[in-house]
C-alpha cells in the first residue's frame, strides 16, 4: 500500500512539478481552472438566475406550438426510431466484452469529480445589480455541502471497494447503453422539482407541490425504453438472418420520409383517389419498369444496344427542347437513365432481382411522398410555423445529411471525372457554393429563391431551407469524398478494367466502397458541422431550438414573466447541443478504431 502511494506521488511529481517552469504552469492553470469553475458555479446558483425559465418550457423547446392532440404522432415517431435503433444495435452488435469493474471505475471517477467540485464550490457569490452595485449572497450553505458530500463520499468509497474486488462478470459493450438510459428513465419517475403555479394575482410563486418534472412524459418514455430493450433482444435473436440486415437498411432509408409526412403533414388521404389514381399508376409504372428491364436484357437488344441507346438519348434531348407535357419529359428522362444503368448492373440474376426491388422501393417512396407530402396538411398550429423547437433542429440536421449525401457523392464523382466539361461544371458548383457563408445561402432561401421558382409555385420556408442546405452540405461532403477518391491507388482502377467491369460497376463496386470507408471520420465531422450550423436558421426567423431559447422564452410574459433570463436558456441550449455533438464525435472515433482506419 505504501509502495503504491509512493509510486503515485512520484508520477504526480514527474508530470506536474518536473521543473520550475512546469510547476509555475501547473499552479497558474489550476488557479485559472478552479476560479473558472467557482465562477461558473456562482453564476449558475446566484439568485438572479431563474432556471425555471428553462424547466417550465420543455414542451416549447421540444415541439414548439405543435398541437397537444397530435402528440401521439411525435411519440410514435420517436418510438419507431428507438425500435429501429434497438434492432440495429442488436443485429450489428460487436462481440467486445468488458469486465464489470469498468462500470464501477466509471462511477468511482464520477464520484471523485463530484466530491472535488463539492469541496471547491464557493460559499458566496456576487453579481452586479441593475444600479451598478455589487450584490453578494450565500449560494452554498454548509449543511447543503455536507448533505451532498457525505452520501457521495460513501458511494465513492463503495465503488472504490467494488472496483478492486475481483468479480468474474463481464458484459457486452453494447449492453451498457441500456444501463445508462435506464438511469434517466428512473430519474424522471422519482426526481421532483418545483412547478410554477399561478395565484390570483398572476404573480409567480415558488410552489411546494413537488412533481416529477417530466410528469407528462414519464409514461411514454418508459414504454419507449421497454420497446427499445425488446427490439434489442429481437435484433440479437435474429442476428444470423442476413436478409433482415438488408431490410433494416432499407427501412432506415424510408424511416425519415415516413416520419416527415407523419409529423409534418398528417396527410388527408381520400381512399377514392388512391384506388382510382395512385394504385393504377403505381402498377403501370412497376410493370413497365419490369418490361424495360427484361427488354434491355434481351440478347437481341443487347446486340444492338448502342443503336437503342442512341435513339433513347436523342429522344430525351429532343424532349427537353420541344414542348411536351412535363410528365412525358420525366418519363423519357427515366427511360434514358434506365437504359444506361440497367445493362451495367444486371449482368446476373441477383443483380436483376435487386434492381426490381430498388425500383419497387423507389416507387413506393415516391407515391408515399406525393400522397403524404404534397397533400393538404391536417394539422392546425397557431402562428406561422408549423414546426419548431428541437424537432425542427433534428429535422434540418437529419434531412440536411440525408439529401445532401447522395448529392455530395455525385458532385465528388463529377469533379473526379475524366470528362472535362462535367469536371468543370462540378468544380464550379462546389467552389461557388463553398465560397459563400451559409447564412447568405439561408437569406437566399428566405428571400431570393422565390424569384427563381415558376409563378404560382410556393414552398414552405423550411422546405426552401432544406433545398439550399442540400446543396451547401452537399458541396462540403463532395470535398470530403473527393479526398477519399484520390486516396484510392491507380491499381484498383486498372484491376477493375482488367476484369472487364463497366464504368458503373467500377464506381459502384470498387471505387466508392473503398473511398467512403476511408473518409467516414471526416464525413461524420461534416455531419456534426451541419447539425451545429442548423442553428443559423434562427437568423432567418425559423423557430428552431436556439430561437426558442433565445427569443421566444425571453419574450414570455404571459402567463409567467421570464423576460431577462436569456443566459440560463442559452446555457441549456449549449448543453443540449454539446451532448449530441460530443456523443456523436466520440462514437465516430470508436467506429474509426473498429474499422482500423488511419492505421496504415
Amino acid at each position: 500500500m505504501v509502495d503504491v502511494i509512493k509510486k503515485n506521488i512520484k508520477s504526480v511529481q514527474e508530470s506536474l512539478f518536473s521543473s520550475v517552469g512546469s510547476s509555475v504552469l501547473t499552479i497558474a492553470t489550476s488557479y485559472l481552472v478552479l476560479n473558472f469553475f467557482r465562477g461558473m458555479f456562482g453564476f449558475i446558483m446566484s439568485s438572479d438566475k431563474d432556471w425555471l425559465a428553462v424547466l417550465n418550457n420543455m414542451q416549447l423547446y421540444m415541439v414548439q406550438a405543435y398541437p397537444e392532440s397530435d402528440f401521439i404522432r411525435v411519440w410514435i415517431s420517436v418510438g419507431l426510431t428507438f425500435v429501429f435503433s434497438g434492432i440495429s444495435i442488436g443485429l450489428w452488435r460487436s462481440e467486445d466484452r468488458s469486465n464489470i469493474s469498468v462500470i464501477f471505475d466509471r462511477f468511482f471517477k464520477v464520484g471523485l469529480g463530484l466530491l472535488f467540485f463539492t469541496i471547491v464550490a464557493p460559499t458566496f457569490t456576487s453579481y452586479m445589480g441593475n444600479d451598478g452595485s455589487v450584490i453578494t449572497e450565500e449560494v452554498f450553505s454548509r449543511s447543503t455541502r455536507l448533505g451532498i458530500l457525505i452520501p457521495t463520499l460513501i458511494g465513492t468509497v463503495g465503488f472504490l471497494v467494488l472496483k478492486n474486488v475481483k468479480i468474474n462478470f463481464s458484459y457486452n459493450n453494447s449492453d451498457v447503453v441500456f444501463l445508462y438510459l435506464f438511469i434517466p428513465v428512473v430519474l424522471i419517475w422519482f426526481v421532483k422539482l418545483p412547478v410554477i403555479q399561478l395565484d390570483e394575482n398572476r404573480d409567480r410563486i415558488m410552489p411546494d407541490p413537488l412533481m416529477p418534472i417530466a410528469n407528462t412524459t414519464k409514461i411514454p418514455w418508459s414504454v419507449i425504453f421497454v420497446l427499445f430493450l425488446l427490439s434489442y433482444f429481437i435484433g440479437i435473436y435474429f442476428k444470423d438472418v442476413k436478409r433482415l440486415k438488408n431490410i433494416m437498411s432499407i427501412s432506415w432509408f424510408l424511416l425519415p420520409l415516413l416520419i416527415f409526412s407523419w409529423i409534418f403533414k398528417k396527410p388527408v388521404i381520400e381512399m377514392n383517389e388512391v384506388l382510382t389514381g395512385d394504385i393504377p399508376i403505381f402498377v403501370i409504372f412497376f410493370v413497365v419498369g419490369l418490361l424495360v428491364v427484361l427488354f434491355i436484357n434481351n440478347p437481341i437488344v443487347k446486340k444492338y444496344y448502342s443503336i437503342y441507346l442512341g435513339v433513347v438519348l436523342v429522344g430525351t434531348l429532343a424532349g427537353v427542347f420541344i414542348s411536351i407535357p412535363m410528365l412525358a419529359k420525366a418519363c423519357l428522362l427515366l427511360l434514358s437513365l434506365f437504359s444506361m444503368v440497367v445493362p451495367a448492373v444486371s449482368t446476373s440474376t441477383q443483380g436483376k432481382r435487386s434492381l426490381i426491388i430498388i425500383w419497387l422501393v423507389a416507387l413506393v417512396t415516391l407515391t408515399f411522398l406525393l400522397r403524404g407530402g404534397a397533400s393538404e396538411t391536417g394539422i392546425i398550429v397557431p402562428g406561422s410555423s408549423i414546426f419548431g423547437g428541437f424537432s425542427l433542429t433534428w429535422l434540418l440536421a437529419i434531412f440536411g445529411t440525408y439529401v445532401s449525401f447522395p448529392l455530395g457523392v455525385m458532385l465528388a464523382l463529377g469533379r473526379n471525372s475524366k470528362l472535362p466539361i462535367v469536371r468543370i461544371i462540378c468544380t464550379g458548383i462546389i467552389e461557388l457554393v463553398r465560397s459563400v457563408p451559409y447564412i447568405t445561402w439561408l437569406f437566399f432561401a428566405s428571400v431570393t429563391l422565390a424569384v427563381f421558382l415558376p409563378a404560382g409555385v410556393e414552398f414552405n420556408l423550411i422546405v426552401r431551407v432544406l433545398m439550399v442546405t442540400a446543396f451547401f452540405s452537399g458541396a462540403y461532403f463532395a470535398e470530403n469524398i473527393r479526398g477519399g477518391l484520390q486516396s484510392i491507388p491507380k491499381g484498383q482502377y486498372e484491376a477493375a478494367d482488367a476484369i472487364g467491369m463497366s464504368p458503373f460497376q467500377k464506381t459502384g463496386l470498387i471505387v466508392l466502397p473503398q473511398a467512403l470507408r476511408a473518409v467516414i471520420p471526416t464525413l461524420v465531422s461534416s455531419a456534426i458541422t451541419a447539425f451545429k450550423d442548423s442553428s443559423l436558421v434562427t437568423i432567418i426567423g425559423l423557430f428552431d431550438f436556439l430561437t426558442i431559447g433565445k427569443t421566444v422564452i425571453d419574450n414570455q410574459s404571459v402567463p409567467v414573466n421570464f423576460v431577462g433570463h436569456q443566459r440560463e436558456n442559452l446555457i441549456f441550449v449549449a448543453a443540449v447541443y454539446w451532448i449530441f455533438t460530443f456523443t456523436l464525435s466520440r462514437r465516430s472515433m470508436k467506429v474509426e478504431k473498429r474499422l482500423g482506419l488511419g492505421e496504415r
Binding site: F321, V422, P437, V451, A574
Partner: protein, 599 residues
C-alpha cells in the same frame, strides 16, 4: 487497327459517345439555368421590381451603428462600410486566433497533466457548441451588465456596461500613420540585415549574432523614428499624391483594353506552353481529344473575358477603377485610393480643447475676444483669447487663455461676449500636429451634452460595442480551437527522429522547437490553416445576429430598403469569393515558398 476504327458506326466510337454525353450534360445544365432565369424575369416583371444596380448610387437613408460612414450617402458607401467592418474582425481575428491557437496546440501536447487536460477540456466545450450560441451568450453576458448611465463619469482602468467594454489602449496621435509606414520599412531593413548576418555566418563559420544585430538595428531605427525620423515616410505620401494625379488622367477605356490584353496575353502564353509541352519526345506531338478541348477552352475563356470587358459590365467595372463619382458616389477608384493613402499619411487627430483654470480659484470664464480664427496655426503657449475669470473667492478679472497644444484651429465652439462658461467646457476644435504619435490612455465615461445619456469618450482608451465584442470573441475562440488541432497535428507529423537528432546536436528545447520542429511542422500546417482562416472570414457573417454591421447585415438592411435582393446576393457572392481567393492565394504563395526543394 487504326483503319478498323474508321469503319465503326459513329455511336460505337468512344470519343463520340464521350463528347455526346458531355454536350448533352452541358445543354441540360444550361437549359435548367435558362429555365430559372426566365422564371426570374417573369416574376420580377410581375412584382414591378426591375433588376438594377442604380440603387448603388442612391442615398439609402439609413444609418449604420458603427464604421467608416455612419450616415452613408450612397448604397456603395454603405457596402464599403460593411466590408471594412468585416475586415476589422477578420484581420485582427486571424492574428489573435493564430497566436491563441498555437499556444493551445502546444499546451495540448504538454507532458504536464493539468495543462494538457484543461486545454483539452476547453477544446471539447468550444468545439461542440454551435458558434451562434456562443456569440449569443457573449452578447447576453455583456448586456446583463447595468446601463452606462448608472456609473459615474470619469476615467476607469477597465469598464464593462450594457454599452460594451472598454480598456486602456494606445490611441493614434499626430503623425501616427507616418510612423507605422516607417515601422514597416524598418522591419524590412531588419529582416534584410538578419539574412545578411546569417549568410555571413554560413560562409565564414563564426558567430555573427544575426538575431542581436537585427534587433539592435530595429530598436535603434525605431527610437530614431519616434523622435522625428518618421518624417522620412512622408516620401510615400508625395508619391501617392502624384500617382493619384496621374491616374486621374487615365480614361476608362484604357482599363478595358488593359485587362483584355492581359487576358489575351495569359491565354496565349498558356496555350503556347501547352503546345510546346506536346512537342516533347514523350508526347510525340500527338493530340488527344481532351487536348483539343483544352485549347478550345482557352480560346473561349479569353474571348469571353474580352467580350465582357467591352460590354456594359466591363464598362461599369472600368468606371469603378476610374472612380466614377457621379454614378457611384463613393471614393473607390484607383485615383481615390492613392489620394486616400496621401490623406491618411497627413492625418492629425482632432480634439475639443476645454477651458482650464488660468489663475487660482477661477470657476467660470467669459470670453471677451478671440485672438484666433479657424485655419490659424497656433503653438503651445500662444494666447488664444482674452476672458473674464470669475469665481466665488476671486474678483472678476481679465486673464489670457493659453494654448496647451500645437496645431491648426478647426473651428470655434463659443462665440465672443457670450455667457460665462464652466471650466471643462470645450471652446474650440484643434487639429493637433505635434506630440507623441501614440498616446496611452485609459477609458473615460462622459456625458453627452446636456442630456442624461453617457458614452465612452473617443480617443480615451478603446471601447468595443457589444456586437463587435461578441462576434470577435466568438469567432476568435472558435477558430483558435480548430487552429490548435491543426498545430497539434502538424507538430505530431514531424518524426521523432528529427527532435532526437536535434537534441543529440545539443540544441536546447526552445531552439529545437524554433529551428527543427516548427519549420517542418509549418509545411503540414499551412493548407489546413488556410482553411481555418477562410472559415473565420466566413463566420464573421454571423455579426448580423448581434447587430454588428458587417457586409451581410448591411446588405440585408439595403435590400429591405430597396427591394433589390438579387443584386445584393450577387455582391455578397463576389465579395466572399474574392476574399476566399485572396486568402487561399496568400496561403498558396507561402506554401510554395515553404516547400522542400528536392534535388
Amino acid at each position: 487497327m487504326k483503319n478498323a476504327t474508321k469503319y465503326l458506326l459513329f455511336f460505337r466510337n468512344v470519343v463520340f459517345l464521350k463528347w455526346a454525353f458531355q454536350i448533352l450534360f452541358l445543354f441540360g445544365i444550361l437549359s435548367i439555368i435558362w429555365n430559372y432565369i426566365q422564371n426570374a424575369i417573369v416574376n420580377l416583371a410581375n412584382t414591378n421590381i426591375a433588376f438594377s444596380w442604380g440603387w448603388l448610387g442612391e442615398t439609402p437613408g439609413v444609418s449604420i451603428a458603427e464604421g467608416l460612414y455612419t450616415l452613408p450617402i450612397s448604397g456603395l458607401q454603405m457596402i464599403q462600410t460593411g466590408m471594412i467592418n468585416m475586415f476589422r474582425i477578420t484581420v485582427t481575428g486571424i492574428f489573435a486566433a493564430t497566436v491563441f491557437g498555437t499556444f493551445l496546440g502546444i499546451a495540448r501536447l504538454s507532458s504536464n497533466y493539468i495543462v494538457e487536460k484543461s486545454s483539452t477540456g476547453l477544446l471539447e466545450v468550444v468545439r461542440n457548441v454551435p458558434l451562434l450560441v456562443q456569440i449569443y451568450f457573449f452578447q447576453a453576458f455583456v448586456l446583463s451588465f447595468p446601463r452606462l448611465e448608472v456609473f459615474e463619469t470619469g476615467e476607469y482602468l477597465f469598464h464593462v456596461s450594457a454599452k460594451g467594454i472598454a480598456f486602456p489602449w494606445f490611441n493614434r496621435g499626430p503623425n501616427s500613420y507616418l510612423l507605422m509606414v516607417y515601422a514597416l520599412f524598418v522591419l524590412y531593413v531588419a529582416n534584410k540585415i538578419y539574412k545578411w548576418r546569417v549568410d555571413l555566418l554560413e560562409r565564414e563559420g563564426r558567430d555573427t549574432k544575426p538575431f542581436l544585430w537585427s534587433i539592435g538595428i530595429l530598436v535603434a531605427l525605431l527610437v530614431l523614428g519616434w523622435y522625428g525620423g518618421f518624417r522620412a515616410a512622408g516620401v510615400v505620401g508625395f508619391l501617392a499624391a502624384y500617382i493619384s494625379i496621374g491616374l486621374e488622367l487615365v480614361p476608362a477605356i484604357v482599363y478595358q483594353v488593359l485587362i483584355s490584353s492581359v487576358a489575351i496575353y495569359i491565354g496565349f502564353k498558356t496555350t503556347k506552353r501547352f503546345i510546346d509541352s506536346k512537342k516533347s519526345e514523350e508526347a510525340q506531338g500527338i493530340y488527344s481529344d481532351d487536348d483539343y478541348f483544352k485549347i478550345i477552352l482557352n480560346v473561349v475563356v479569353v474571348l469571353l473575358v474580352v467580350l465582357i470587358m467591352f460590354s456594359s459590365i466591363g464598362a461599369g467595372f472600368a468606371g469603378f477603377l476610374v472612380g466614377d463619382e457621379i454614378t457611384f458616389k463613393a471614393d473607390w477608384g484607383l485615383p481615390q485610393l492613392f489620394h486616400g493613402i496621401d490623406n491618411k499619411l497627413n492625418w492629425y487627430p482632432s480634439i475639443d480643447v476645454e477651458v482650464v483654470a488660468e489663475i487660482e480659484g477661477m470657476k467660470k470664464a467669459e470670453i471677451i475676444n478671440w485672438e484666433i480664427e479657424p485655419g490659424d496655426k497656433i503653438t503651445k503657449g500662444d494666447v488664444i483669447a482674452t476672458a473674464y475669470a470669475t469665481g466665488t473667492k476671486i474678483d472678476k478679472q481679465e486673464v489670457e487663455l493659453i494654448a496647451l497644444e500645437t496645431g491648426n484651429v478647426e473651428s470655434l465652439l463659443v462665440e465672443e461676449k457670450s455667457n460665462a462658461i464652466k471650466l471643462g467646457t470645450p471652446i474650440y476644435e484643434l487639429e493637433v500636429t505635434e506630440g507623441d504619435p501614440f498616446i496611452f490612455s485609459r477609458p473615460k465615461v462622459e456625458q453627452v451634452g446636456t442630456t442624461k445619456f453617457q458614452r465612452y469618450a473617443d480617443g480615451h482608451g478603446k471601447s468595443l460595442s457589444v456586437g463587435y465584442f461578441a462576434i470577435w470573441l466568438g469567432v476568435v475562440l472558435y477558430t483558435a480551437i480548430f487552429i490548435s488541432e491543426v498545430v497539434r497535428a502538424g507538430i505530431m507529423a514531424v518524426s521523432k527522429g528529427q527532435s532526437e537528432a536535434g537534441l543529440s546536436l545539443g540544441l536546447r528545447r526552445g531552439a529545437l522547437l524554433r529551428l527543427v520542429v516548427l519549420p517542418q511542422a509549418i509545411r503540414v500546417m499551412l493548407p489546413p490553416m488556410g482553411n481555418q482562416y477562410l472559415n473565420l472570414a466566413k463566420n464573421t457573417s454571423l455579426g448580423i445576429a448581434v447587430a454588428y454591421p458587417e457586409i451581410v447585415a448591411v446588405g440585408q438592411t439595403l435590400y429591405n430598403q430597396e427591394g433589390q435582393t438579387l443584386p445584393v446576393f450577387l455582391i455578397w457572392m463576389m465579395f466572399y469569393s474574392s476574399v476566399s481567393l485572396t486568402i487561399s492565394s496568400i496561403i498558396n504563395y507561402y506554401n510554395r515558398k515553404m516547400k522542400i526543394v528536392e534535388r
